[in-house]
């Protein structure tokens, strides 16, 4: 087990290196002028070619890319001093560079944004399961009935709406037209500061993500349950004289959860990586929104940082899923 985790983490490290290297090279050899963002912000948008050349030199774009990449990776581990426009900034480990647009260490900004994204992801993903699985189980027990068919088709309709439209509609109806009692002004307030505002500000985002995402989970868990209910061991459980709920929940659901958990892990990782539409529409300063803006501003260090964060989120959630898998199914041996 331990060797397995180590092996997976090592593999993850390789993936992270490749991800950051490829983004690094994209900026290096891409068609844009990576120093312009910094130049614009430092000169209040009066960036002359000479100035640009200065910033290009200062940011290291005239050095070989390999040595700069080495500096970057070294900074993540030990931190480093970065000098721009005659000003030296101490960038503590994990140093992800200075933002080209603000000049502040990226990690400082990131720290304030991670809780917002994690809050959205945890809340939204919980609703995936809390709504999706029970509805799916209920539908599977009534397979083929009118209720089942209505549910399946109405959920199909929901999931065929483009998500951004769905989110806007939720915003319109629940925040503007009918003010729900627990819904506050959308936005992020740290949980530690004011739990009620934290909840009120995120509630709509959760509902939006949860309702939209749970349609898929209803489908998965309905399908997995239908399959599990037709397994021989469920028939055995019935033949033992177990009550219906033990048959459904202890025997069938336990088995049906395995495929659902697999998909959930990947979805949760994706949510952590950033929910761009949700953050944008509900005005939450999370990783997704940050990444979107950074791409627009060609702010390499932020793009790098968000990509690394997304990769870490996916790698870790995949690992957790696999570990969970071996806990849920004793036949699975990790190696």
């Amino acid at each position: 087990m331990f060797a397995y985790i180590v092996k997976r983490l090592l593999a993850g490290l390789v993936v992270l290196t490749l991800v950051s290297l490829s983004i690094f090279l994209l900026f290096w050899y891409g068609p844009s002028e990576p120093a312009r963002a910094m130049c614009d912000s430092k000169t209040s948008n009066r960036c002359s070619p000479e100035k640009l050349e200065v910033f290009t030199e200062e940011l290291g774009y005239n050095n070989p890319w390999a040595s700069e990449f080495g500096n970057y990776v070294g900074g993540i581990v030990t931190g480093r001093d970065i000098t721009v426009a005659g000003q030296t900034t101490r960038c503590e480990a994990p140093c992800l560079g200075l933002s080209y647009s603000t000049g502040k260490p990226v990690w400082e900004d990131m720290q304030s944004r991670i809780p917002a994204t994690v809050s959205i992801a945890v809340g939204g993903a919980s609703l995936y399961l809390l709504l999706g699985v029970p509805i799916g189980v209920a539908a599977s027990k009534r397979r083929g009935t009118v209720a089942d068919k209505t549910l399946v088709s109405s959920f199909l309709v929901i999931s065929s709406i483009p998500y951004y439209l769905f989110a806007l509609l939720v915003f319109l109806y629940f925040a503007v037209l009918y003010e729900l009692p627990f819904v506050g002004q959308p936005g992020y307030t740290p949980l530690t500061e004011n739990p009620a505002e934290w909840f009120g500000g995120l509630a709509l985002a959760w509902i939006c993500l949860g309702v939209f995402g749970c349609t898929a989970y209803t489908r998965y868990s309905r399908g997995a349950m239908v399959e599990a209910l037709s397994e021989d061991y469920v028939r055995t459980a019935k033949a033992k004289g177990l009550p219906q709920r033990a048959v459904v929940y202890k025997h069938a659901l336990r088995a049906a959860l395995v495929p659902v958990v697999t998909i959930f892990g990947i979805d949760f990782g994706t949510l952590l990586a950033g929910t761009i539409f949700t953050e944008k529409i509900f005005d939450i300063n999370g990783i997704g929104l940050w990444a979107l803006n950074a791409v627009g501003q060609k702010d390499l260090p932020i793009v790098q940082a968000t990509a690394l964060f997304a990769a870490i989120a996916l790698i870790v959630s995949n690992l957790v899923v696999d570990l969970l898998y071996s806990v849920l199914d004793p036949r699975v041996r990790l190696s």
Binding site: E231, D232, Y233, R235, T236, A237, K238, A239, K240, G241, L242, P243, Q244, A246, H251, R254, A255, L328, D329, P330, R331
Partner: protein, 350 residues
Amino acid sequence: MTEPFLVVEDLTVKFPTEDGLVNAVTELSYSVEQGRTLGIVGESGSGKSVSSMAVLGLHDARTARITGSIKVGGQEVVGLGESKLRKLRGREVAMIFQDALAALHPFYKVGSQLAEAYLVHHPSASKRDARRKAIEMLDRVGIPQPDRRVDDFPHQFSGGMRQRAMIAMGLINDPKLLIADEPTTALDVTVQAQILDLLQDLQREFDSAVIIITHDLGVIAEMADDILVMYGGRGVEHGPAKEVLTRPLMPYTWGLLSSVPDVAGDTAAKLVPIPGNPPSLLDPPSGCAFHPRCAHVGKVQGNLCSTTLPRLEPGPSGPGHLTRCHLSDPAAVFETEVLPVIAPDLLEES
């Protein structure tokens, strides 16, 4: 004479489907006494498993239409409520299934699955009691080191041990009727022999009634006191095992016997197949369901076979041996025509 423990009368099971009504079992009647073994033989789709599942009320009331009567220890099962059925299942009637790997839950330890079966019918027992009972049953069915193996998962057992565990689970509440649905089909022959020995020892010990469902005539021959042959959802021959297997009266039974080679029989014996395929249950043939495949239709006057369903009634060999066939003297046809082809050695003996 006491009433047999299980009495099935005119049992009919139909499943409405999109393609039409599946006539899985039609007007089936049989009974099993305490301490006796009934073998039910038939091919896939003959209704042998469907009828036995009805005994435990395992069919979904929403999808199955069941009529007729099934009396278990005097209690009517058809139409019985779910909560009363539950008291019957696993307690009065236990069932063991073909593929023990699929029939045991892969995520729970063998011991806890056994204990669960015990606890559900002994709500006052403690978990420790149930575990002790599980170990005792594992030991009883010949699993070595049962106190250790009780904490194994099913996949850690060999095929034979899984089937033993399945049997232990079936017998944990000392049921009066054990239904074994193809209990050895997935097993190797030496393991099959072990399991069949075990089943017989246990039956003697518990004095339970046993129904063994199989397509393997050899297994039936060794295990059953009585045999019911099913075809197209109906019983077509019913009688003492020796009678049915050595002096069968129904051409379908002849067909089964002539379709399987015998490991010790005459090598001059011919394998004579039954032509065609098993009947459609959606649209069963008129008259005798076997007539489209029967090679003896010509011996019956007119087109009786294709128009009139023969009744399951006593044949020439006595009141205990029933057959569903229009042939006037099936015993003679079997001895003069069939036996010389499929087992010439037996002819010389008799």
